[in-house]
Symmetry: C2
Subunit: 324 residues, 2 copies
């Protein structure tokens, strides 16, 4: 299983990434899947009779699974997470190990995205961005964020992995992740959004309440309905975007208005997602500015933004209707 | 684990139902969860490069898990499913066994509801209705459909179980289902939709494309947006309805129009769901007629209908806007 991953990625000339970092992250996603499966009492969070720390336990245990995996990788110098958004050494011993590897990475992750839908047992996700060098801050995201991973925790555990290393051909593939260590299979080796004409068109309108105050968003929703797009909206970034990648079409819209501020984290959500979408042949732009998500360096781990992403043609339509 | 289920249900005077039929069905739901977890290649169904029988395999294996479980229950005389919608003896030996039990049941089930969202690894479900007697046909559903179960296959395996036996107090509870046989825990022993005022109101508009041609549906959507309801719509009956049960509020609308015919199966979908919703203190009506789903006997296993269900106040609002 692991060997097929190695052979898929052998030409990238990044042995530590391919043989150490990605396997460790995929094992952490597998472990997070197991943790979720065994956390029946997480159901209590989000209901009226919350016991208080069910949900917190899952947040903590999934964060720990990621931290433990990263600490095992000598080439990962720096890590930060949505739960603890400060870049720190990924392990206590990293300083001496760093000297022994020519690859040096920074990993930014959100271990459990979609906390509002954990209680009803809906699919949730893990988001990971991998950067060349000792920090994600003040770097050119297009060049330096060289990989990202979306872990999907649903009836199965799956993952979508993007690699875009300067000078090589970008690749986006889907894995099925089983229970054991490094037990995964390549389900699709080349994930691409479809080209028109589309059989079915999908839309996922986040924060739909904003359409009540923001006329362009209401017009956009009406447009989707009249043009017979199919609605699919979980309200979890990972499952909503992976739906588009699996179906071959989709547009996700999270608008920013005067009343509805940008709230998606650039480092832990927007930048990894944008790499995935671009590797799928799609686009990802900030709904606050219209700029490509990847066009602007990150100044701070807590920066936020809005999101329009998915099939390129539809991102352009949405941009025109919301931002011009 | 199983003993807590027995103690919760001991007062119902239905030993075969409580000690044999429900445990067998919950074990089948657990097995279906395992089958889904191990079916990585189901991902291929619903994509452009379908291998043909990945999805079919899961349909067949989950159907078999249910049939095998039912064949073990001497009190289950008759079974039918969405995959094979004809009432038949539940096991080869049922005739002689039937004489030995005073409880006699008919089970109707949909082993895997939500096939369109299996490929993207979204939460799907199993729907089961349990009827008193040797057939579900031409019976009064309110009196004769005495139990229903929704199995939820997401990051965890969970189930919502309703019992409404004439002469006893209805009960609706949620279980966490683990891997082993009869290994489940009661997560909430009394599931109820909340009373107003609601903290957050949710809506799930099925077949939203119909709003493009059917003006009342478009007005309803606009109403939800202006009233600041939160959109959550997976497009799978089980996860969409369980969301409402866990959050304490929700309204699901699947309209029937001239162009969009009633397509939900009454026996395998609408009737079991209606019992769950009524036991939660909510309502379930047919969007084609406005009648309570449970008010009309079933004439045929293939009958279909539309659906408006969830919080009673909201079902009334939707009924008024769509049907008057």
């Amino acid at each position: 299983m692991a060997s097929s991953l190695e052979s898929l990625l052998s030409s990238y000339g990044r042995p530590a990434l391919v043989n150490s970092v990605l396997p460790a992250l995929l094992d952490a996603i597998s472990e997070i899947g197991t943790l979720l499966r065994e956390s029946q009492n997480v159901t209590l969070a989000g209901t009226n009779n919350v016991f208080g720390d069910g949900q917190l336990n899952v947040d903590v245990s999934t964060e720990n699974a990621m931290r433990k995996a990263l600490a095992k990788c000598p080439s990962v110098l720096t890590a930060s997470s949505e739960e603890d958004p400060i870049e720190r050494p990924a392990s206590d011993s990293q300083t001496k190990d760093a000297a022994t590897t020519s690859e040096q990475y920074t990993v930014a992750f959100d271990p459990l995205d979609g906390s509002s839908i954990i209680a009803p047992n809906w699919t949730v996700g893990t988001i990971i961005g991998i950067w060349d060098g000792a920090s994600a801050l003040h770097q050119n995201p297009t060049e330096k964020q060289i990989a990202s991973v979306l872990g999907v925790h649903g009836p199965r555990t799956t993952a979508v992995v993007a690699l875009r290393i300067p000078g090589t051909k970008p690749i986006l593939f889907e894995l099925g992740i089983n229970n054991g260590s490094q037990d995964y299979e390549i389900v699709r080796s080349d994930v691409k959004l479809a080209a028109p004409p589309f059989k079915t068109r999908y839309f996922a309108p986040a924060n739909l309440r904003a359409a009540g105050e923001y006329e362009p968003y209401m017009r956009l929703i009406t447009y989707f309905i009249e043009e017979k797009y199919t609605l699919r909206y979980i309200g979890g970034l990972v499952p909503d975007l992976v739906h588009a990648l699996v179906k071959g079409h989709g547009v996700y819209v999270s608008p920013v208005t005067d009343k509805h501020k940008a709230k998606l984290r650039r480092l832990y959500e927007l930048l990894p997602i944008a790499l995935i979408m671009e590797c799928a042949g799609g686009k990802a732009i900030d709904s606050a500015t219209g700029e490509d998500i990847l066009s602007r360096p990150l100044g701070d781990c807590n920066e936020t933004g809005g999101l329009i992403c998915g099939t390129a043609e539809d991102v352009d339509i949405v941009k025109k209707m919301l931002l011009s």
